[in-house]
Amino acid sequence: MFYLDDIGRYFLMLKGVFSRMTKGSVIRNLIFKEIDDLIIGSLGITVFLAFFIGAVVAIQTALNLTSPLIPKKLIAFASRQSVILEFAPTFISVIMAGKVGSFITSSIGTMRVTEQIDALEVMGINSLNYLVFPKVIAMLMYPFVIAIAMFTGIFGAYIAGVYGGFISSSEFLTGLREEFIPYHLVYAFIKTFLYSFLLATIPSFHGYYMKGGALEVGKASTSAFVWTTVVIIISNYVLTQLLLS
């Protein structure tokens, strides 16, 4: 019953986010600020993680290809498939649930604790729209982050594969183009769009409805990370079943 109550409140929150819009000039500035905080601020860690994830995938694949009958280009093929289908969209999103999610929860939660949200409400401002809507719009840029993660991941695989002596450059490039299905990119970006919405709204929910003081802000951040991850993993399964089966 407790979870059903939370799910109900989450959808009521979404209704609040998209109603009674804040003044355009104000919301525009907020969106730019959120893009800077949530998107630009995540690029560094995303590039770093994606590069090494791609590199490790290439090495692991290479070390498991012991049969001489299996062509080396499979290293590039497997790296590309792993990075595009799962590691870039899902794995990076789980990490972003920690980075972006805890930032959103703690910033909104602190506003709740220090009565800043009450101040917005007293002024007659729809605080949900003012606080959450710019985050949702800013996170529409998230697929660009994932696109960069895909590129960097494959680049990491290339560096580790070629300079680690597992595969030649030409073999890697051949494998990279092998049996490429453009729909896999569509699938990956459909997932990414859904994750971007979840990454903006679930942590906002935990921050907005938290009660208590500083300790509870910390608990809400942890709870937001756990629930965002759980929902991402479940929706990954459902979408994979729906889109690839």
Binding site: V26, T114, Q116, A119, E121, V122, M123, G124
Partner: protein, 254 residues
């Protein structure tokens, strides 16, 4: 005038406000006092429209809030200014941006016009040379002044203050009290202050509403509060050693 009629409010089956009926007049500083847990904050939040009463009505200059359509309720809220206990300044904005915020949200003024008004109110609350500082870079007393400036920048009809002296030294507290009283008279607004500070009662208590366990126990002004026989009020007033000593001295004719 704000008229409160038979106001009831509770949470999870527990009654917090139990049939409060009173009025708050324009141009006066009205104080809600009482011990912790007496329902002061809930009462103030009902007046602000943040809590919906279970029973009873609150009317602002003849308009009953609960009977107004949603848009008119929002319009009414725009006529309210609020000074929160912890100031509730937006910590990502500078002092100037905090004060300008209501103007940006609710007016179509040009930036120059907004800035002119911001400087005017910052000057009115005696706060200069802090425009570009963040709330975390100024003292508690200065934060209260910024909160007052933000509350009055749109020339509201109603000003609500939740323990505006909380966390301030006695001297700054008196300055803030007097500032609120001056602004109330100057702007001819209805000011309602929630406090348990007896110094505030002495300084600015033109109308005092005393709450106890959710009931309106007593109402009067600052001259009457020291003469009342109501035990709950005298217990509250003379819980301070200072006031107790003043009373004892008066009795002894010192």
């Amino acid at each position: 005038m704000i008229e409160v009629t038979n106001l009831h409010k509770g949470f999870n089956g527990e009654k917090i406000l139990k049939g409060i009926t009173t009025t708050f007049d324009r141009g006066k500083t009205n104080l809600i006092i009482g011990t912790s847990g007496s329902g002061k904050t809930v009462f103030l939040k009902c007046l602000l429209g943040l809590f919906t009463p279970e029973q009873g009505a609150i009317s602002y200059d003849g308009s009953t809030y609960s009977e107004l359509p949603e848009q008119q309720q929002r319009d009414l809220r725009e006529q309210m200014g609020m000074v929160f206990q912890g100031s509730a300044l937006f910590d990502s904005m500078t002092v100037e941006e905090n004060v300008m915020f209501p103007l940006m949200m609710f007016t179509k003024q040009k930036k120059d016009e907004m800035l002119e008004r911001v400087y005017e109110v910052l000057n009115r609350v005696n706060l200069e040379n802090a425009n570009n500082k963040l709330p975390s870079e100024i003292s508690g007393g200065m934060q209260k002044r910024v909160a007052i400036a933000r509350a009055i920048v749109t020339r509201p009809k109603y000003l609500f203050c939740d323990e505006p002296n909380s966390g301030l030294d006695p001297r700054t507290a008196i300055v803030i009290d007097n500032l609120i009283k001056e602004i109330t008279e100057e702007y001819d607004i209805i000011t309602v202050i929630n406090t348990h500070d007896m110094n505030s009662v002495m300084e600015i208590g033109e109308k005092i509403v005393f709450l106890k366990n959710g009931y309106l126990e007593w109402e009067g002004d600052k001259s009457q509060i020291f003469k009342t026989d109501n035990k709950a009020v005298t217990d509250f007033v003379y819980s301070s050693n200072l006031f107790k000593k003043v009373r004892d001295a008066q009795i002894k004719g010192l």
